[in-house]
Subunit: 319 residues, 2 copies
């Protein structure tokens, strides 16, 4: 493990950079990459921010997002920095560009990070954005309002607006500093959390209207057929996050959302609140995840998928 | 306006206190009152925390909530402190107790506060809890985990988990300090925001299922009859906050939620996102509120209430 000071020194000695975000980018990887690229540019260095995927709609407001390059439009640089990537594969099509650099840097907050670069700074934190803020402070350019906005979005989004157990005093202090530098907490929150497509909101309505409780309210189950999703004008990706609204019901320990992904193919998502091991359920069905959030796929009918999931959830409640 | 130092001095010279929260208590008034009462007790003083109303279910987890007294069970004290009350009337049935004290103190973050006590500390902030933390730091007892939990809940709930425009660097720094003192951000967030009665969640489902857009998606309108509310197993109070989910729809500028409060009586709630003056709409109908959040009551049928609100909202969009 290398220090941020050593990384700052390497950066000071070079002037051509690639800053890479991970595939399916989230607020932390995007905000971290854009803030670092901007800080490097402010120091008079060349810096390309790059990602395999396009910037998702809700993050388009991030300053610099319009200049973010898709992998195929970027060129190799002397130094490449990966932000928020627990392993090199998370770079997707940006991996060859990363590997083409003479020196590589890996800055991340995932404890599972496997130190795949020449210089690795990996430390548990609410968000990689916290580390990037520290690095920028070492490099010298005072974070301007644009960098502050990117880094605040990184920290806020990766801590669920300071609601996840990963939130630390350092996360909150970094956020305070970024607000002082010009980040607007209300605007950033609204752009990321409160700009919901109509179809997704209708889908939430359909999910909750169909929500049923089982086992004295300890299991909440909702099912969405392909027709339900289509009639809401929603996309399958709009189901993301909807299961949280089932888990949020008072008394529910296991939340189950089943959606028809293709004819006869059902995706079962599971969440638990306090103790039930839904990762075990998913593993027994050939799926994956962890204790509190997991999922698997089954073939058959919606009724079979629902009764199978209920049986497994009942067992998990008793375990 | 008095300094917190002068208030700390008055507190140090006395040993019998009443700490009063406002009617319809929220997290800020409760967390502030309970933390201050606990700090006073830690200093060896007598301290009663009091409120006209019972502690709402979602705040029952606050340390000390079970010892909070209803007004009729409290007795006068030598010094009374009102927390988070913009005027004395907000104390409700605790006002006679407050007035019976030899010395009164008013600690608040509402700029409209009319300085009704002998000692007044009123300063704009994300939450009154920020001021109470500063006062406790002046008084001396290191905030313990219970005080930290109360004050974190106060600040988090009054800033919408650091999402409202009232969130300042000081709010975030106070939160950081409270996490260091033992407040658990994830647990407090879950208890306050993620413990939703089944009936309320069903009501959200019914609202969003019935949600319709008008004026090219710039107006979102949903209606809830008394029968809708009853069939969800919900109470009328469960409608609180539901309009936010309408306003959150991408492109919606004016959100309208109409609920049947009694036969032929309709409560119209209005929210706007960026520019529309819904306070003006409400005022023209004999209601109240401000530019971004307002409401009024009309008699007649649901159809009349809806078409009237739509007409006014269209005008507000053009203004």
């Amino acid at each position: 493990m290398d220090s941020l000071g050593a990384i700052a020194e390497l950066i000071n000695q070079n002037d051509d950079f690639l800053v890479a975000a991970h595939v399916s980018p989230d607020g932390d990887t995007l905000g971290s990459a854009l803030a670092l690229a901007r800080a490097l540019a402010r120091l008079g260095k060349r810096a390309q921010a790059v990602c395999e995927d396009a910037v998702p709609h809700i993050y388009e407001f991030l300053p610099g997002a319009a200049d973010m390059l898709r992998s195929e439009n970027a060129r190799p640089a002397r130094v490449a920095v990966a932000v928020d990537c627990a392993d090199a594969q998370r770079l997707g099509s940006a991996l060859p560009l990363f590997r083409a650099a003479e020196k590589t840097i890996n800055i991340d907050h995932h404890e599972t990070n496997n130190a795949y670069a020449d210089y690795n700074f990996v430390e548990k934190a609410g968000a990689t954005g916290e580390h990037v803020l520290r690095l920028i402070n070492l490099l010298g350019p005072e974070p301007d309002a644009d960098m502050a906005t990117c880094l605040y979005a990184a920290i806020m989004s990766d801590t669920g607006s300071f609601a996840y157990s990963s939130t630390t005093p350092d996360s909150l202090r970094a956020a305070a500093m970024l607000v002082e530098r010009g980040a607007d907490p209300a605007r950033i929150n609204r752009r990321i959390y409160r700009t919901i497509p109509f179809g997704k909101q209708k889908l939430l309505g359909a999910t909750l209207t169909g929500l049923a409780l089982h086992e004295n309210g300890r299991i909440g189950l909702a099912c969405l057929s392909a027709a339900d999703i289509a009639s809401c004008g929603a996309l399958e990706e709009d189901t993301e996050g909807i299961i949280d609204h089932i888990r949020d019901v008072e008394g529910v320990e296991v939340a189950i959302l089943i959606r028809e992904s293709a004819s006869g193919v059902f995706k079962v998502s599971l969440r638990s609140k306090h103790f039930a091991d839904v990762g075990g359920i998913a593993a027994s069905m050939g799926g994956g995840g962890h204790k509190r959030a997991a999922g698997y796929t089954v073939l058959g009918s919606m009724e079979e998928a629902a009764s199978g999931a209920l049986t497994l959830a009942r067992e998990a409640l008793r375990a």
